[in-house]
């Protein structure tokens, strides 16, 4: 196999894949091999990945359920878009892009901290509904804004960036999101964050500053949602608030959950596939067939989630998954797992979410030595 240390390979694989895809498509785009529809699709995929990865920070690593991610994106889209409108004549295209990315991200991050504050007091469903409420409030405010400020119900007209280049920028942003998210998670701070998720009381007792880290995660997560929003405004001629309803937040959540909680690569793949499926269904099923879109999407969603999560299907999953399939062609390397480096950064693919959705149940059940299913060694 590749003569790199396993750990390093593991860490950088998604950068390499994303960068390779970006470069390949950039070349194809600049040599005129890509249709507009491909470019639109790529833009959408990049934005979806940014959103999914940033949301997985909150849901997967911090273990809090947020249904307001679209709200942060909305802030980024409107403020970044407005900044672009104002700055583009003054600064030119590229500086305006950079400044509006920063503005959109920063303002979204500030709101992330504001919404992070209730997260210190609320858990589970209660936090979920508060984030959902926040998203709807943001949407309502932009919806009813005056024509001069944010365009009101007609939406804000924003400059559309050159479509040959925008998706490349969007993928660079994906790389940036990945870099920040993964570097943070794979550091002592990331350990503190996952510690809070695993057991908040123990984390506090171990001296972890829960307040600081919760706010940090909300800030970073919404920063990148804001960035995605700015990219969104650049990829459309108008920004309309109807887009940012709770349904869109849920769509992003679906990507995170399908990808596997706390699994960044999974979130990337899920975001790509869902966006791809969405656009393909939309453009293939025209006319009278359009009604089938949601039906097919819903069926795929239900089947996938049940297949991936049903406890009864566990043996089946273990028997027929890609890992075992690939494993047949690859010599088993038992020494790999002994390496301290290799497992140092293990990101759990499944986290215990009992506490996320059921606050008034006992948060975590005490361990009993004879509990069935947990075997001692």
């Amino acid at each position: 196999m590749i003569n790199l240390k396993n750990a390093k390979w593991n860490h950088y694989i998604n950068y390499i894949v994303v960068a390779a895809v970006t470069i390949i498509f950039a070349i194809l785009s600049l040599t005129g091999f890509l249709e507009s529809s491909d470019k639109y699709l790529l833009e959408k995929i990049a934005i979806a990945i940014t959103l999914a990865v940033s949301l997985s920070m909150v849901v997967g690593f911090l273990g809090e359920l947020s249904l307001g991610h679209a709200g942060f994106m909305c802030i980024g889209a409107y403020l970044g878009g407005k900044a672009a409108v104002i700055l583009e004549p003054m600064l030119g295209e590229w500086p305006a892009l950079i400044v509006s990315l920063v503005i959109g991200g920063a303002v979204a991050a500030i709101f992330g901290i504001i919404i992070g504050l209730p997260a210190l007091r609320l858990r589970g469903d209660y936090l979920a509904i508060v984030t959902l409420a926040f998203g709807e409030i943001v949407r309502s405010i932009f919806m009813n804004s005056s024509k001069e400020s944010f365009g009101g119900s007609l939406g804000l007209d924003t400059p559309r960036f050159n479509k040959d280049i925008l998706f490349i920028i969007a993928f660079v942003m994906v790389l940036a999101t990945l870099a920040v998210t993964q570097n943070l998670i794979r550091s002592k701070h990331g350990r503190a964050i996952t510690a809070i998720r695993d057991n908040e009381i123990a984390a506090r007792a171990t001296g972890i500053d829960v307040t600081k880290y919760k706010l940090l995660v909300f800030a970073i997560s919404s920063f990148f949602a804001g960035i995605a929003g700015v990219l969104y405004s650049y990829s459309n001629f108008t920004v309309q608030s109807t887009k940012f309803s709770y349904n869109y937040s849920i769509e992003i959540l679906v990507m995170v959950v399908l990808g596997g909680m706390g699994n960044i690569n999974g979130a990337i793949i899920a975001a790509t596939l869902i966006t791809f499926l969405d656009v393909e269904l939309q453009t293939i099923l025209t006319g009278n067939l359009a009604v089938l879109q949601d039906l097919i999407y819903a069926l795929i969603l239900i089947v996938l989630v049940i297949y991936n999560n049903a406890p009864a299907l566990k043996p089946f999953r273990e028997k027929y998954n890609i890992k075992t399939f690939i494993g047949r062609f690859r010599p088993h390397n038992p020494s790999k797992h002994k390496d301290d480096e290799a497992k140092w950064d293990r990101v759990p693919t499944k986290i215990k979410m009992d506490e996320v959705l059921s606050v008034d149940l006992q948060v975590s059940s005490p361990y009993t030595p004879d509990k069935p299913g947990k075997e001692g060694k």
């Binding site: 007091r121 508060v130 709807e136 919806m143 959540l253 009604v291 949601d294 999560n309 606050v359």
Partner: protein
Amino acid sequence: MEFIETLINGLSIGSTYAMIALGYTMVYGIAKMLNFAHGDVIMVGGYMIYVGLTVSGNPIISFIAAVLSCIILGITIEKIAYRPLRGASPLAVLITAIGVSYLLQSSAQMIFGSAPKMVTVADLGSISFSGLTIPVYVLVTLICSVIIMVTLSLFVKYTRTGRAMIAVSEDKGAAQLMGINVNRIIMITFAIGSGLAAFAGLFMLMKSPSLSNTLGAMPGIKAFTSAVIGGVGSIPGAMLGGILMGVIEAFSLKIPAIAPYTDAIEFLILIIILLVKPTGILGKKRREKV
């Protein structure tokens, strides 16, 4: 006078929310899952009433048919989409619930078309006294909500099945060890919840006779919000939350300057209530054992 009038309007809006929230809170409080498809079961209930009226012309028969079909639908959804995920992450169940919601909506559009249907269940008229006019359906909805609330509370408190429900909501594993058939209890919960959804469908149609496949979506979210305001899993809380939500909405719509922001104001008040009382108005706070 205007105050009382607005209050009555608030009750009118809130009674629907309360009715939906009661069904929501049953499923939500006992099966511990956010059933995002609940609003769409209401929609199916509405369509069933429509079909019943078209076929039989009798509101009572069509309503009974709607209740039965909603119960069957609820049980089926639970069996196919939720039961396989018992024991898996609650988020996975949340996602299948969303899938079921999409499925029901698009099926409804496929079967009944995209145009809204006008369904006139029964014109109950309105009663007036001393300058106030109250549509009768508001009173009927309110009275029915209260009856349902009381019945549910008594059912949960005093029947064997009801107590088993509480046990299941507290701890599924322990309940199972005590000999409770958890699957059966959750199935009954879904049946009750879905039956209540048919009630909600009926009352929504009595109020606004226009029936489309998105009928339940936004009221569903508002009702969920109401249930959270009232306190998750609390039956009187759902009622209280719903009424409160309706009254806030009515008063907000009354003031021209803030009327367009009505939804935002409702949600803002939700946030404030939760910040002051993190478990909702009637929610129980439980201390974690350390």
